[in-house]
């Protein structure tokens, strides 16, 4: 063979090899996904990272050495190794890690316990419990911390004493009233719904024959749980753990409210402070610290999850599920769960609702009740003449925008999450899967405000065939989709992990294209997870504020920015009216989703 021939042969082989490689949908979609993630996430992160190594104009304020535009390690040494570091970084980061770990653990116990009761046992009142379990998540987390203060406030922060102190005439100690404990409780109440939904979906798609087989073989109930159920839902639990961990360490509202009276600062509150003080670079260093923690967490997760076999539990055939008999514990368990849920879900909700009808706050008699804040006209004596919400034109615009943004981003997120989840689960052993997995996780760690700031400059001008999106609803949808990726991709991959390759392979042998396989097999089998993702994103988007407030222009006003406006002006009743409307919308959508997806969601998260 001549040299020329060899070369040609090699070239053909290379061509064939790469075509083959690309023909694998995991690779093709994976590459597309990586390009998307690179532009939407990695680029902003690199931009943030870049600024931390360059002297900024503002640094002249901190040190005379500053030389704007030149390379420096000053920002990193200031945060990590100066006389400021303990207060600025080490204490807050220890607090963040502690809160993150505690919130994940507590949410896991609550969420998984509830998910197990609802999906795998014969507990009554399943639908009620499920419904109640979702409610705390519909409320902004700070409402739960406010409720906490109403009960457990002591004399330290003045004002009206908490209910507990009024009743018992004993002041609760500071550690119950403020700081670590209440922060962990408030966040856990709010976030355990993630565990409930994600683990619930995994549990319900699990084939109960496995458990039966074990029982037949003589295994005790605990052994079955430990040896069979637990390993099967392990991936979902790890997903939930990481999601909630990172969500907790980056939360701002709750730690700001409950932490400051006892000087309890987290990285997130420090970061917000740097931002507000125009120390942008310091804020960037702190965000990168958060991002690094998340990468480390994911890495650990992969070490744990990667060392286990993957379990395929859904195959084509359906199997009858047998539920664990709770026996005499049936009613007490249901009662306890329902009462507990009602306490944390319904009480704050009712208080808010009541307040929206009170002419003056805190005066509990009939004559103080009014509909003014709902549909009253302009009265100069109340809120300087601000009209009732339902008569306000801005409200109509805002509700239209909010609904559109939430619905569009929820649909997009659910589908994108599933597709990326497909890449992650099928490409588990290739670099593509890993890159997608890790990159899709970063958005949660970039503070909403900084992501938004970067998006302004990225999308203010046309670039890369993308028209200028700034000032459009599209940009708000895009950033919501990106910000929710961690949830949707985790949910998508956890759900895909449960689906055997055999079905797809069979269809492939039968000549079905990837698109057909996705539409005919994967979509229907993942409907539960899709619905969960849709709901989570919809709810998240309806409540989202920090992320979009920078990107909103007067024409793209949303319900939350309107809430913000009212809250800032101190119009608490009007704020509550809008919150009630947001919650009503979310509950309505939730119920429709449950009804519409009857076969899936209801059974996925319980039902009968």
């Amino acid at each position: 063979m001549s040299k020329k021939q060899t070369l040609a042969l090699r070239r053909t082989r290379l061509y064939n090899l790469s075509m083959n490689w690309l023909r694998n949908p995991v690779h093709l979609i994976g590459i597309a996904a990586i390009l998307f993630l690179a532009y939407m996430i990695a680029w902003p992160v690199l931009k943030i990272a870049y600024t931390t190594f360059v002297w900024q104009q503002q640094d002249v304020r901190l040190t005379g050495e500053a030389n704007p535009g030149h390379f420096t390690l000053y920002h990193w040494t200031r945060v990590l190794g100066s006389d400021m570091s303990v207060s600025l970084f080490y204490k807050p980061i220890m607090n963040s890690l502690a809160v993150g770990a505690a919130v994940s653990a507590l949410s896991m116990v609550l969420g998984c316990g509830l998910a197990w009761l609802v999906t795998r046992t014969n507990i009554p009142l399943k639908k009620t419990i499920t419904f109640l379990a979702v409610i705390p998540y519909l409320l902004p987390a700070w409402i739960l911390s406010q409720a906490w203060l109403t009960f457990f406030k002591n004399g330290k922060i003045g004002g009206t004493p908490g209910i507990l102190q009024s009743l018992l005439h004993v002041a609760p100690p500071d550690w119950i009233s403020y700081g670590f404990v209440p922060i962990v409780f408030s966040l856990s109440m709010h976030d355990s719904v993630f565990f409930f939904l994600i683990v619930g979906a995994a549990l319900s798609s699990m084939n109960s024959q496995l458990e039966e087989a074990a029982s037949v073989a003589g295994a005790r109930r605990l052994t079955v749980l430990r040896k069979i159920v637990f390993p099967l839902v392990m991936p979902s639990m790890l997903s939930g753990f990481i999601l909630i961990f990172t969500k907790a360490i980056s939360s701002y509202g709750v730690p700001a409210l409950l932490g400051s009276p006892v000087n309890f600062y987290m990285i997130s509150t420090m970061l917000y402070s740097s931002m507000r003080s125009r120390l942008t670079t310091e804020a960037n260093v702190l965000s990168l610290a958060l991002i690094l923690i998340s990468v480390a967490t994911i890495y650990l997760n992969q070490r744990v999850a990667g060392s286990r076999r993957s379990y395929v539990t859904v195959t084509g055939k359906d199997s009858a599920r047998t539920l664990t008999e709770l026996g005499r514990w049936k009613y007490p368990a249901a009662g306890a769960a329902a009462v507990l849920m009602a306490m944390i879900a319904v009480v704050p909700l009712l208080v808010l609702l009541l307040q929206s009808f009170m002419l003056k706050e805190g005066q509990y008699h009939i004559s103080n009740l009014t509909m003014h804040y709902w549909w009253g006209g302009s009265d100069p004596d109340i809120n300087t003449g601000e009209k009732g919400v339902l008569r306000n034109d801005t409200f109509m615009l805002a509700i239209k925008n909010s609904l559109f943004i939430a619905a569009a981003s929820a649909v997009l997120s659910a589908v994108i999450g599933l597709i990326l989840g497909y890449v992650v689960s099928r490409g588990k052993h290739s670099w593509i899967g890993r890159v997608v997995d890790q990159a899709s996780f970063l958005p949660y760690l970039i503070p909403g405000v900084s992501l938004a700031a970067i998006y302004i400059s990225m999308f203010a001008k046309p670039a890369l065939l993308i028209p200028a999106l700034y000032g459009t609803i599209t940009l708000l949808i895009l950033i919501t989709v990106v910000k929710e990726l961690p949830f949707t991709v985790k949910a998508g991959s956890a759900s895909m992990m449960q689906i055997g390759k055999e079905l797809e392979e069979a269809a492939q042998v039968g000549g079905a294209s990837w698109f057909a396989r996705f539409r005919r097999i994967l979509l229907p089998l993942n409907r539960k997870s899709l619905m969960s993702a849709f709901l989570l994103v919809f709810i998240g988007a309806m409540k989202e504020m920090e992320l979009i407030i920078m990107l909103v222009t007067p024409r793209t006003e949303t319900l939350t920015t309107l809430t913000f406006y009212y809250a800032e002006k101190g119009y608490e009743q009007l704020t509550n009216v809008i919150l009630m409307i947001i919650i009503a919308i979310v509950i309505a959508v939730y119920l429709i989703a449950v009804k519409w997806g009857k076969a899936d969601l209801t059974q996925g998260i319980g039902g009968s």
Binding site: G158, P261, T269, L279, H429, V435, S457, A460, Y470, R555
Partner: protein, 405 residues
Amino acid sequence: MKIKLRKYKPARAAVILAAAMMLTTACGEGGGGSNTNVSAATVPAGQEASVQPSASPASAPAESVDELYAKAKEEGKVVVYSTSGRANDAAETFMKQYPGIKVEVSKLKSDQILDKVMKEQDAGQFNPDVIVTKEVSGAVEAEMVDQGRYTKYLPEDIAPKVDEPYRTEAEAYANYVEFRTIFYNAKHYAQVPITNWWDLTTPEFKGKVYTADPLSSPAFMDLFTTMVINSDDMAAAYKEKFGKDIELHGTENAGYEFIKELFDNGLIVLKGSDDVLDAIGKADSDALGLAVSGDVSKNEEKGWSIQPIYDIKPKTSVPDSGYLFIAEKAPHEAAAKLFIRWMMGETDGKGEGLAPFNEVGSWVPRSDVQTKNDIPYEDLNLWLFDGDALYNTAPKVRDFWIKQK
């Protein structure tokens, strides 16, 4: 095979992602190289600053209201970024007075407006016309006004009636002035409980002083920073109170010493101004709280019984001004001017647009406007707002504050 694949670590993944990123962005970044700097604090010298000279004269030539209205009607609308909801109230009356011009108000915090406008302008988008903003420890002046991003607007016919420093010395005309001061519970105290800032460091008020968190609100930090800048005043007030010279406990000057002693005396930090006033004003309380003067107008609505103290030694406070600016390359400039005139209360100061700004606890610095407060603006005992000094000192005071924890 499996073993080999195991080698792919996150670091490696990051490299791949970064490479992909370069690929995707290489073409997109072609034109806009100048805005790669995320926190572009200032524009490279001479680039944008020359577009619109920032050294604007003390007052702008008076275009007649009719002229402005005619032009503004063609423009059709005016876009306002405001830190204060009062702009919304002014917008409502404006649209009645000048039909055909729609006012669109976005409400954001001052530092967010600053970031947003900077990013927008760097990307070549000129969206807002009018900016209603507070200072952010001098950053508005240093990063926006000096760069020509925000422009002062003070019509010639109104200028003579404006009090200093807002006529010629300050960065712009301010439509209202508030400040941070000490509040007390009027049910508990028949008269003003303190007259000197150092009173707060005495055993009488141990664990009984509240403040909104200066770490999340630059305006609160500005008051403490101003005490550091004017530490001689603080030292003199110390001597007046205790009859001896101040002794510094490892701090640089009397301003820092005050912060330290405040912490040592059990200062309680709450999230915001409302939380502070809730704490001292909801029930009978002998505690004191640092909050915004304008909040006194919420007394009835919130069920508080609070009163501000308007005379504290050495100075009561430092002004926090609600400045009015026209944004660089404002797309609806005539409408912007017309709207600013409306908020100013027009030539005679009697226009309805001023009403939302002329409230108890906030002052309109115009000699021809009657204040609703018992004390006229000129009689307030305030430090000068020194933007330059604040801009350079605030980060150090913030560091000092953080170290107290």
